[in-house]
C-alpha cells in the first residue's frame, strides 16, 4: 500500500509507512501509529513530496468569493494586509480596537479564496463576524457554538467550541483566523489552533501579549500563528480614524436605610476577612480562601453571603437607578449602551425602562434584530450584561453607562474601545456610576486608566 498522511482529530497520521525511507522528526510513534500535531502541516508538505507520500490531509476547497463591500481600506490596513501576504500568509496583525481589523481579515479571506474558519472569544463576536461575512460575501456562513452547529466553507466558531469543530472538520479549512489572538497562549485556548492543519493563519489583536506574559504559558503565539507582521498603536490613530473620548464619574449616595444595610453587610463581610487576616495570610488568594472556608465555617459562610448581598446592593441601589434615569433623560435621542455586572440588573433595566437587553441568553436572531434596530435608530438604548465586552461593533453608540463595579483594566479599555468605534468624529463619553464611600471607590483608585478627564 502507498504511504499516506491523513488528518485525525487534530493530528496528522502516517499510514503504511513501510516504504518511507525517512520519517520526519516531527512525527512521534504513539499508539501504534506515527503522528504529529496538525499545525505542523506546513512544515511536512515538502517532506511528503520528497518521500512520495500521498497527502490526504487537505479537504479544503477553493471558493469563488465576490467582495460586496464598498469600504476602501485605509492606508494602514493595506500595509497590514501586504505585510501578512509577504509573510506567506502567516502571522498576527496588531491594530487598536476599532481600527478595522475585521476588514483586513475579510480581504485576507478574499486573497486566499478558500474555505476559512474564524475563531472568536464570545458569541457576541461570533454574531458580529457572521453578520459581516454574510453581508460581504453574500453566501451562507456557518456558525458553530454551544447552541447552533452549522458548518459551511466559511465558518465562525468560539474558542470554547473550536476544539470539537476542529477535531472533526479541522482539515476542511485552508485559512485559520484567530480574533483576539492574545488569548491563544493560555491553557486550552490554543488547542484548536494546534489541531488545525490550515497552512494560512492570521491572528488579530489590539493587545499582543508581551514576551514575559507568554512565559510559562503552553504555547507561544508565533509558533501557532506566525510572527507579528504589522503593528499600529492607539495614539497614531485617535483623532484620525476614531473619535476622541472622555470618561466621567457619577457618584451616588445610598439611602439611609441602604447605608445601614451596607454597613452591617460590610462589617459581616470585611470584619471576618480582617479578623482572620485573610488578606495578610493569603495575599491575592484571600477571596478563594474565604470561599473555601465558607463550606466549613458558619462565620465564613455568613461573610460570603454578606459579600454577595453587598455587591447586589451596590449594583442595584436606588441612587444608581435614579442616576441612570437622569442620564437616560439627559441623553434623550442619543444611542446609549448600559453595562451591568449581573444578568438580573440588565433584565430589571429592560423591564423598568422598556428597553431591549442583550445577555448571553440572547439568540443570534434577536441579537441581530436588536443591533440592527439600534443602528437604524429604532432602539436608542440597549441594556447589556457582560456579553458586549469584547470588540463588538456598535458604531452608533455615543454614550456608555457602566452600572456595575468590579471592572478590570482590560474590560474597562474594551468598553472604551467599543464606544470609540465611531462613524463620524463625535465625542463619545463613558459614564461610570459609583456609590460614594463604598468599596467601589477603592476599585476605581486601584485601576490606572490613561487619558482621564474629570
Amino acid at each position: 500500500m502507498e504511504a499516506s498522511v491523513f488528518f485525525q482529530g487534530g493530528t496528522l497520521v502516517l499510514q503504511d509507512n513501510n516504504q518511507v525511507e525517512q520519517i520526519s522528526i516531527l512525527f512521534q510513534f504513539v499508539k501504534n501509529r506515527w503522528r504529529c500535531e496538525a499545525y505542523r502541516y506546513h512544515e511536512i508538505v515538502s517532506w511528503m513530496k520528497e518521500q512520495g507520500i500521498r497527502n490526504s490531509v487537505p479537504r479544503w476547497q477553493p471558493l469563488k468569493l465576490d467582495l460586496h463591500d464598498t469600504r476602501e481600506l485605509h492606508e494602514y490596513q493595506v500595509k497590514a494586509l501586504d505585510a501578512w501576504k509577504q509573510g506567506n500568509g502567516r502571522g498576527s496583525i496588531v491594530l487598536p480596537t476599532g481600527a478595522g481589523k475585521t476588514l483586513v481579515a475579510v480581504h485576507a479571506i478574499h486573497h486566499v479564496s478558500a474555505s476559512t474558519v474564524v475563531l472568536v472569544p464570545t458569541t457576541s463576536l461570533l454574531y458580529q463576524w457572521y453578520a459581516l461575512l454574510t453581508n460581504v460575501f453574500q453566501t451562507e456562513i456557518g456558525v458553530y457554538y454551544s447552541s447552533e452547529k452549522r458548518v459551511h466553507p466559511l465558518t465562525v466558531t468560539t474558542y470554547h467550541s473550536a476544539g470539537d469543530l476542529i477535531a472533526e472538520y479541522g482539515n476542511s479549512f485552508k485559512l485559520l483566523i484567530c480574533d483576539e489572538v492574545h488569548h491563544l497562549p493560555a491553557r486550552t485556548w490554543g488547542e484548536a489552533a494546534l489541531m488545525t492543519p490550515a497552512p494560512f493563519r492570521l491572528g488579530l489583536t489590539a493587545t499582543y501579549p508581551e514576551e514575559h506574559e507568554q512565559v510559562g504559558e503552553r504555547w507561544r503565539l508565533d509558533e501557532l500563528i506566525g510572527p507579528i507582521v504589522y503593528t499600529q498603536q492607539l495614539e497614531t490613530i485617535v483623532g484620525k480614524q476614531l473619535a476622541e473620548y472622555r470618561t466621567q464619574r457619577v457618584r451616588v449616595d445610598l439611602t439611609p436605610q441602604e447605608r445601614a444595610t451596607y454597613e452591617s453587610l460590610h462589617e459581616t463581610y470585611l470584619g471576618f476577612v480582617r479578623d482572620r487576616e485573610l488578606q495578610r495570610k493569603y495575599g491575592a488568594d484571600w477571596l478563594r480562601e474565604l470561599m473555601r472556608l465558607s463550606a466549613i465555617d458558619p462565620h465564613a459562610r455568613r461573610a460570603m453571603l454578606a459579600r454577595r448581598q453587598l455587591l447586589a446592593l451596590l449594583e442595584s441601589c436606588q441612587g444608581k437607578y435614579a442616576a441612570l434615569e437622569e442620564l437616560l433623560r439627559e441623553h434623550a435621542g442619543e444611542r446609549i449602551l448600559v453595562f451591568t455586572e449581573s444578568n438580573a440588573v440588565a433584565y430589571t433595566i429592560a423591564r423598568k425602562y422598556l428597553v431591549p437587553v442583550i445577555s448571553h441568553e440572547t439568540g443570534v436572531a434577536e441579537r441581530k434584530h436588536i443591533l440592527e434596530a439600534f443602528q437604524a435608530g429604532r432602539y436608542s438604548v440597549i441594556a447589556t450584561s457582560k456579553v458586549l465586552n469584547e470588540g463588538i461593533d456598535v458604531p452608533e453608540a455615543k454614550v456608555a453607562i457602566v452600572i456595575g463595579g468590579g471592572v478590570s483594566k482590560r474590560e474597562y479599555l474594551q468598553r472604551l474601545g467599543r464606544i470609540l468605534r465611531k462613524k463620524e468624529p463625535l465625542q463619545a463619553v463613558l459614564i461610570e456610576l459609583l456609590v460614594r464611600n463604598s468599596i467601589e471607590e477603592g476599585k476605581v483608585q486601584r485601576r490606572q486608566v490613561p487619558r482621564e478627564k474629570r
Binding site: Q28, V30, K31, S294, L354, P356, R378
Partner: protein, 423 residues
C-alpha cells in the same frame, strides 16, 4: 452532570491519590435533606426554574453544607424537563413591540411624554392581552422562566443520594487527561460507549484474561495531560459500571493539586450505573441462532460451549467483537469465533467487511445472509471462513465447519474420557 464548583470542594488529595468525599447514603440526616429537596421539587411542579432555584437558595440558608444541597438540586434539575410557557404570541415579537417605545419612565417629561404604564396599557390593548400576561410573556423564553413540566424519575432519598455520589465520581474525571481500565466482560457495550463519546482507546490483553484499555483523545499525546477529553471521560464512566469486574485508574489534575494525581475506582465501589445495558442479543437472528444451539447442541449433547461476545479482536484503532465464541469443552484453548452478518445497512456492512479483512483471523467464521449483495469474492484473501445462508444459518453445516476449522487450526483433539461438564 454537576458543575465543577460543586465537585471541587469535595475532592481530597492524599499524596498522589485523589479521594472524593462521597456521602453516606444511609445517613438519616442526609436522607432527610434529600427528602426535603424532593418534596420542594415536587411542589414546584409547573413553576419557573428561577422560582425553584430561589427555593433551593432559601433552603440552603446560611448552612455550610450548601455545596451538597446545590449538588442534589442540580441532579434533580438535570433529570427533569423544563419547558417554555405556551404564549399566545412569541415573546420576542412582544419585546420588539414594547421596546420600540423605550426608554420610558414612570413620570413623563418633554422628550418622553408617554409613561411606562401608558405604553404597557396601549400594547396590551393592541395585542388583546392583560397587563399580567404581558409581564409574564415578556421574557417567557428565558431559561429562568421555563416551567418545571416533568420532575423526572421517581426519586427516593436513597436513589438521589446514590446518583449524587455517581455524579461526584464523574466530576473527578472533568480534570482527567486519560484513564486506564481493566475489564473482562461486556465488551460490546463498552465499545459502543467508547465510540459514542468519541474517545480514543488502546487495548492490550490483560494477564488474567480480559483487557487493559487506555482511554484518551487523539491530541492527548501532544498536549501533555490535556483536559479536553475530561467531559467525555466523565460522561463515559457509567458505561464502565455496567461491567461485572473492572478497575479504573484516572490521571487527574484538579485545580487544587500541584501535579497529576491518581483517582482509582473498581467494582467493589457501591456506585450504580443509570445507563441501560443493551439487551443480550442485537438481533432476532442472533437470538434464534443461540436458542437453536442450546436446544440441539447445548448441555451434554455436544462438546461445544457457546459464550456471547467474550472476545475482542483488536484492530489498531478499532475493535471487532464477534457475536459468539464456541469453546471446546475438551480443551478450552480450542476456540472458534462466530460473527453473524445479517440484514444490515450497506454502510455498516462496508465497515464490517473492512474489519473482517483487517482482522484476517483464521478462527473467525462468518455466517452471511445471502441477500446482501456480498459474494465469496468479497472475502477473498481473508483467512476467515464464510458460510452463506438464505433464511437462517443451518446449524448442522455450521457445526461441521466449526469442527473442521478447529481441527485445521489446533490439530485433531486428543480423544479424552468424557470430561465433566464445565458450567
Amino acid at each position: 452532570m454537576l458543575t465543577s464548583e460543586l465537585i471541587r470542594p469535595r475532592l481530597r488529595i492524599h499524596g498522589s491519590n485523589l479521594r472524593i468525599e462521597m456521602v453516606n447514603e444511609q445517613d438519616p440526616s442526609l436522607q432527610q435533606k434529600a427528602q426535603d429537596l424532593i418534596n420542594i421539587f415536587n411542589r414546584y411542579q409547573s413553576q419557573s426554574q428561577a422560582a425553584w432555584e430561589e427555593a433551593v437558595r432559601a433552603y440552603e440558608g446560611a448552612n455550610v453544607d450548601y455545596i451538597f444541597i446545590r449538588g442534589l438540586a442540580k441532579v434533580l434539575t438535570d433529570a427533569a424537563v423544563f419547558k417554555p410557557l405556551t404564549a399566545p404570541l412569541p415573546p420576542a415579537t412582544l419585546r420588539e413591540h414594547i421596546f420600540s417605545y423605550g426608554p420610558v419612565f414612570e413620570k413623563p417629561d418633554l422628550f418622553h411624554p408617554t409613561t411606562r404604564q401608558q405604553v404597557l396599557r396601549e400594547v396590551a390593548d393592541t395585542l388583546e392581552l392583560s397587563l399580567d400576561e404581558i409581564d409574564e410573556i415578556m421574557f417567557a423564553d428565558r431559561g429562568a422562566s421555563y416551567r418545571l413540566m416533568d420532575t423526572g424519575p421517581a426519586w427516593t432519598p436513597s436513589t438521589l443520594l446514590a446518583r449524587y455520589n455517581l455524579e461526584l465520581a464523574r466530576g473527578a474525571l472533568y480534570w482527567a487527561s486519560h484513564i486506564t481500565i481493566e475489564v473482562a466482560s461486556n465488551y460490546k457495550d463498552l465499545w459502543k460507549f467508547i465510540k459514542f463519546f468519541k474517545l480514543m482507546f488502546w487495548a492490550q490483553p490483560g494477564q488474567d484474561g480480559g483487557y487493559r484499555v487506555d482511554l484518551d483523545g487523539p491530541i492527548s499525546p501532544f498536549v501533555s495531560s490535556t483536559l479536553r477529553y475530561g467531559r467525555q471521560l466523565a460522561a463515559f464512566l457509567p458505561a464502565l459500571l455496567l461491567c461485572e469486574h473492572w478497575q479504573m485508574q484516572a490521571y487527574v489534575r484538579p485545580p487544587q493539586a500541584r501535579g497529576e494525581i491518581l483517582y482509582r475506582l473498581d467494582h467493589s465501589c457501591s456506585l450504580r450505573s443509570h445507563f441501560k445495558s443493551s439487551g443480550t442479543f442485537d438481533s432476532r437472528l442472533e437470538e434464534e441462532f443461540a436458542c437453536e444451539f442450546e436446544q440441539k447442541m447445548g448441555e451434554k449433547r455436544g462438546h461445544w460451549r457457546m459464550v456471547r461476545e467474550s472476545e475482542v479482536i483488536l484492530l489498531g484503532d478499532t475493535v471487532m467483537v464477534p457475536d459468539f465464541v464456541l469453546i471446546d469443552t475438551r480443551d478450552e484453548k480450542r476456540r472458534i469465533l462466530i460473527e453473524l452478518v445479517g440484514f444490515w445497512h450497506p454502510n455498516y456492512l462496508k465497515r464490517k467487511v473492512e474489519k473482517v479483512r483487517a482482522a484476517n483471523c483464521a478462527r473467525l467464521l462468518l455466517l452471511v445472509y445471502q441477500g446482501l449483495n456480498l459474494t465469496e469474492e468479497t472475502f477473498d484473501g481473508t483467512a476467515s471462513e464464510v458460510i452463506f445462508f438464505q433464511n437462517k444459518p443451518v446449524l448442522k453445516e455450521v457445526m461441521q465447519t466449526v469442527e473442521a476449522m478447529a481441527n485445521r487450526i489446533y490439530g485433531p483433539c486428543p480423544k479424552l474420557k468424557r470430561t465433566k461438564k464445565t458450567k
